[in-house]
């Protein structure tokens, strides 16, 4: 994660609030949608659609939140269907499965910490770029 005070413009109060909300949206959805990982992505995507005509600062942060959720969706979905197969089908609990669950738990935890930190910083109008996701977002979001 990379704190960047020199973002090209200082966001106004309403911009900071919306940008911060894009991260809060993924947090809220994570609580509601724990059993079904796609709920987080849908919630963040709807928020992104609602703000795609917003200012550059808002669009940038909505996109960063969306991209992080999309990659979590991929790993969480594998965990979800693997668990489903163990409960309802012939799969059994193995070291492989438990190691996978611990791995996705740690990645989700890292995302949670980064999301809370970024939500607080963007609410203050500060720009935070995540490692990899920040560069990817800059590539996708045009001024």
């Amino acid at each position: 994660m990379n704190y960047q005070p020199a973002f090209s413009h200082a966001p106004a109060e309403h911009e900071a609030e919306k940008a911060s909300n894009s991260y809060l949206m993924s947090l809220m959805a994570a609580i509601v949608g724990l059993p079904l990982p796609i709920v987080n992505l849908i919630a963040t995507f709807i928020f992104y659609l609602g703000n795609r005509r917003g200012t550059y600062f808002v669009r940038w942060h909505c996109t960063q939140a969306l991209l992080s959720q999309a990659s979590l969706l991929a790993m969480n979905s594998v965990g979800f269907w693997w668990t489903y197969s163990i409960i309802f089908r012939d799969e059994v609990i193995t070291n492989h499965y438990i190691a996978y669950l611990i791995t996705i738990f740690l990645f989700n935890l890292a995302d949670l910490v980064a999301t809370i930190y970024t939500a607080i910083q963007t609410r203050k109008g500060k720009h935070v770029e995540w490692w990899f996701y920040g560069d990817l977002t800059s590539l996708l979001v045009k001024r």
Binding site: S71, M75, I87, F88, R89, D90, I93, T94, N95, H96, I98, A99, Y100, I102, T103, L106, F107, W131, F132, D135, L136, L139
Partner: protein, 265 residues
């Protein structure tokens, strides 16, 4: 280029963490096997305690001994621990057999009477053994009742209605088609390994499926095991090219006297 490298590092770190964590024996650390065995044991004990109060169990040695001999023969031939199987014979005018958690095998007297020879009965028992050995019983319970309810039941928090509903579920509803087919295939393998002809088991299924006029409740085993005619054909197809030595376990007088005793007692 930088972005691709970062993405690659992110994906590689995910797999490295996963593969690294895989090196630990989590199944032992979290006592996974012990927990699932103890849950099944508690459920099995609870189910059987409820079920035996509702029904009349046959304990006469002249009936249980020959059936035990058949069951032990199949188990020993297939490396199944006979000590863990708890055989119960219930005096009831229904053609039914089912398995409860923790290796309780329940046979109704009318099912035994309906079998024309020991191989038919062995087929039914092998089918139920397959459900046990493949873990189908717990899968069915989790699917129908829910994991949380099962845990609540084992910790004594389940309501009496829920527990009774769970008992009914195992004795009177069907497994899904995939599990039934797997149990049939495994049963045939068990029978062949034990040198018992699986064809009579196929005949039993076919005979049951042809009883259109019967009261459904009287042929419960078939109503809980649908598509019997199709399954009978599949068994015949499975064994048509397999050569094996066919033997009987009981002598002819033992089988006849078992049926006589069932009718008289």
């Amino acid at each position: 280029m930088k972005l691709l490298l970062q993405g690659g590092i992110l994906i590689a770190s995910f797999f490295a963490m996963w593969m690294g964590l895989r090196q630990l024996d989590w199944v032992s650390i979290f006592h996974v096997k012990e927990i699932s065995t103890s849950t099944e044991e508690k459920l099995g004990e609870m189910y059987w305690n409820i079920y035996k109060k509702l029904e009349d169990e046959e304990t006469s040695k002249s009936i249980t001994n020959p059936i035990d001999s058949l069951l032990n023969h199949i188990c020993k031939a297939n490396g199944i621990d006979t000590d863990i199987i708890k055989l119960h014979i219930i005096r009831k005018d229904q053609v039914n057999a089912f398995a409860l958690p923790d290796h309780h095998l329940v046979l109704f007297t009318d099912l035994i009477l309906d079998c024309e020879n020991e191989a038919e009965l062995c087929g039914v028992m092998a089918h139920e053994l397959a459900h046990m050995e493949k873990g189908h019983i717990m899968k069915k319970l989790v699917k129908e009742i829910g994991l949380s309810m099962l845990i609540a039941m084992t910790s004594g928090k389940g309501s009496p209605e829920t527990i009774q509903q769970a008992v009914r579920l195992l004795s009177s509803t069907a497994f899904d088609r995939t599990l039934e087919s797997e149990a049939d295939r495994t049963a045939v393998d068990y029978l062949i390994t034990a040198n018992i002809d699986p064809e009579p088991f196929a005949n039993f299924l076919f005979r049951m499926s042809s009883r259109d006029g019967a009261i459904p409740q009287q042929i419960s085993w078939i109503s809980t095991h649908p598509d019997s005619e199709e399954r009978s054909k599949t068994i015949i197809e499975q064994i048509k090219d397999i050569a094996f030595e066919k033997k009987t376990v009981l002598d002819s007088t033992q089988w006849i006297s078992l049926k006589e005793n069932l009718k008289n007692e």
